[in-house]
């Protein structure tokens, strides 16, 4: 899928970054060496385009953690909750392998098995590596990856290499121990609990050393950072520069989740998370230096399915224990499905008569960038009913092109069983908050009532591009509305101001 360029002859030296350097979009990937491209081609977390087509799963075999972060509460477990560190049941390595094979057979587009907690995988080396060892032997068509806080990383590099792990994610929130001391109250190190600045100093040194060793081994490293307003927001630009210089492949800046109900330090003390606009501003600021990930869904340590969906309930222990998976047969089927997906990805995007792609009328060069929310059920298409959308992909359209800038979820945060059954008015209010800053919503279908509600809120609903490729559709709508003068620099909509 090619990036949709609206204005090839236009000026590209505007603020922000050119589409080709943002995110891991298909166009950006085309510039990578073939070997690297092959490594990320079907990894939904390392490649933005892959996440439209391929699924991932996490197995929760790693409960123990060797550090404390102020945004984590080890007590929390709610099946309605989707965020890192949360799981419903901890698995033994044998159970995890069984679950992985069952999911791989049932969801053939699942290409990646990650271990991400609910503690730190490398603080549970026996459980983590036993799971990897069995899967390397039994399921050679599944990519293995691991996500860590980095404290125990340098000591296990050799073992990671033995298990054929090509992707590692390190969470690096700072490179300055004074900032670290405000994020990490303590670490467990050399048989002692260490607190304060000293703890952050050790953690940072281990993370940086781990990053360098992984890069030296040719392992792709993604760096996750939690954006904590007032604590590490400005600092993350420096983090981004440093990890890029050391060879990290991708930087994923994620918003802090700090609902008071979660009982985390930040939740209890009133530390707020960033707004969508703050997050995007920081990601854009880092993007000049570094390839940024924009499609992260901050998933659970036992998530199953496409990013943004969780089919974990279909694969609980009691359900998989009855199953007897013929993995040799499953592998044949999986290979067919993957080939079909690749054939689809290779085909050129259909160009509809309503969406002439290139060469905008010069008058549109004055049109400002606009955010559009897209309801998509996968495949990179506008193919979801507005009422069924629990999350929206956020695209920015401007005279320079179309790019993904984020994914926002309406139903992620659990506020306890009393509030799990939202009334439709509450749900709509929540969706409006999610759509803050967006001026257009693209979906496959939308009912009369929500259509009116969106318009009343100053958002333009559009279901004319059902089943079209997202980027083509966004480009077409931008072009059409620009032609009407809707997005001229002077006509700033109220939505935009209130973002």
């Amino acid at each position: 899928m090619a990036i949709t360029v609206l204005n090839q002859g236009g000026k590209t030296a505007l603020t922000g970054c050119a589409a080709s350097s943002c995110g891991s979009s298909a166009d950006a990937l085309a510039q990578l060496p073939a070997a690297l491209r092959a490594k990320i081609n079907n990894h939904p977390c390392f490649s933005e385009d892959a996440h439209h087509h391929y699924a991932r799963m996490h197995v929760a075999v790693a409960p123990a953690c060797n550090i404390q972060c102020h945004y984590c509460n080890r007590k929390y477990d709610c099946s309605n909750e989707s965020r890192p560190g949360v799981v419903s049941e901890v698995l033994t390595p044998d159970q995890a392998v069984k679950k992985t094979l069952a999911v791989a057979a049932a969801i053939p587009q699942m290409t990646v098995l990650g271990i991400a907690g609910p503690g730190d995988p490398l603080a549970n080396p026996a459980r983590t590596f036993e799971t990897f060892r069995q899967l390397t032997a039994k399921a050679p068509d599944i990519k293995l990856c691991v996500s860590t806080n980095g404290l125990a990383l340098p000591e296990v590099i050799d073992e990671l290499c033995q298990h054929n792990i090509e992707h590692v994610t390190i969470t690096i929130n700072c490179v300055d121990p004074d900032i670290g001391a405000q994020i990490y109250p303590w670490i467990f190190w050399n048989h002692r609990r260490i607190k304060g600045r000293k703890a952050a100093e050790i953690l940072i040194a281990q993370q940086q050393k781990g990053l360098e060793l992984l890069v030296a081994q040719g392992i792709l490293v993604k760096v996750n950072s939690v954006l904590i307003p007032g604590i590490n927001d400005e600092h993350l630009k420096e983090v981004s520069r440093i990890v890029k210089a050391k060879g990290a492949f991708l930087h994923n800046v994620m918003p802090l989740i700090s609902e008071p109900e979660h009982g985390t330090f930040y939740g209890l003390t009133g530390q707020r998370g960033p707004t969508s606009a703050e997050l995007q501003t920081l990601q854009d600021a880092c993007a000049g230096d570094m390839r940024m990930m924009r499609h992260c869904r901050q998933c659970r340590a036992d998530a199953v399915g496409m990013l943004g969906e969780d089919r974990g309930q279909e694969f609980t222990l009691d359900k998989i224990e009855q199953l007897d998976v013929d993995y040799a047969a499953a592998m044949v089927q999986r290979a067919k499905v993957h080939a079909a997906i690749e054939a689809k990805r290779a085909a050129p995007a259909p160009i509809t008569p309503t969406a002439p792609l290139v060469t905008l009328n010069p008058q549109f060069r004055t049109s400002r960038p606009v955010l559009m929310a897209v309801a998509s059920g996968g495949g990179g298409l506008v193919n979801q009913h507005f009422g069924e959308a629990n999350e929206f992909l956020i695209y920015e359209a401007s005279s320079r092109g179309v790019r993904l800038v984020g994914a926002r979820t309406a139903g992620r945060y659990c506020h306890g069983p009393a509030q799990c059954d939202d009334s439709s008015a509450q749900r709509f209010a929540k969706i409006l908050r999610v759509l803050a800053g967006c001026e257009v919503v693209l979906c496959a279908k939308i009912g009369y009532e929500p259509w009116q509600q969106l318009e009343a809120a100053g958002i333009i609903p559009n279901s004319e591009h059902a089943l079209e490729s997202i980027e083509t559709a966004v480009a077409a709508v931008y072009q059409e509305l620009s032609a009407n003068g809707r997005f001229s620099a002077a006509a700033v909509a109220t939505q935009r101001r209130s973002a």
């Binding site: 409960p63 123990a64 503690g119 303590w186 109900e261 009982g263 209890l268």
Partner: protein, 99 residues
Amino acid sequence: MALTIIDACVNCWACEPLCPQQAIHAAKPHFYIDATQCSECSGDFADPQCASICPVEGAIVDAAGIALNPPGSLTGITPERMAALQLKRHAPTPLHVIE
């Protein structure tokens, strides 16, 4: 001389692999320490290992019932401040209260 895990334990497994005497066992409703095996790590480590990694204040107590990680020692939030913060919270259902 032995330590005890009490019901504040969240079953996170962090302590279990660290015990030099293999005295800690996964159990329900929470992990427990076999008092006949526990040495409080004396002779092995300067600090009891389970209490040095436990993320929950008050979950591990000594023979006198005194918490090795008393309230406020890990979060930095004193019990008085914690009580005030809990009151300030207006969540309808306090499902996940920190001890």
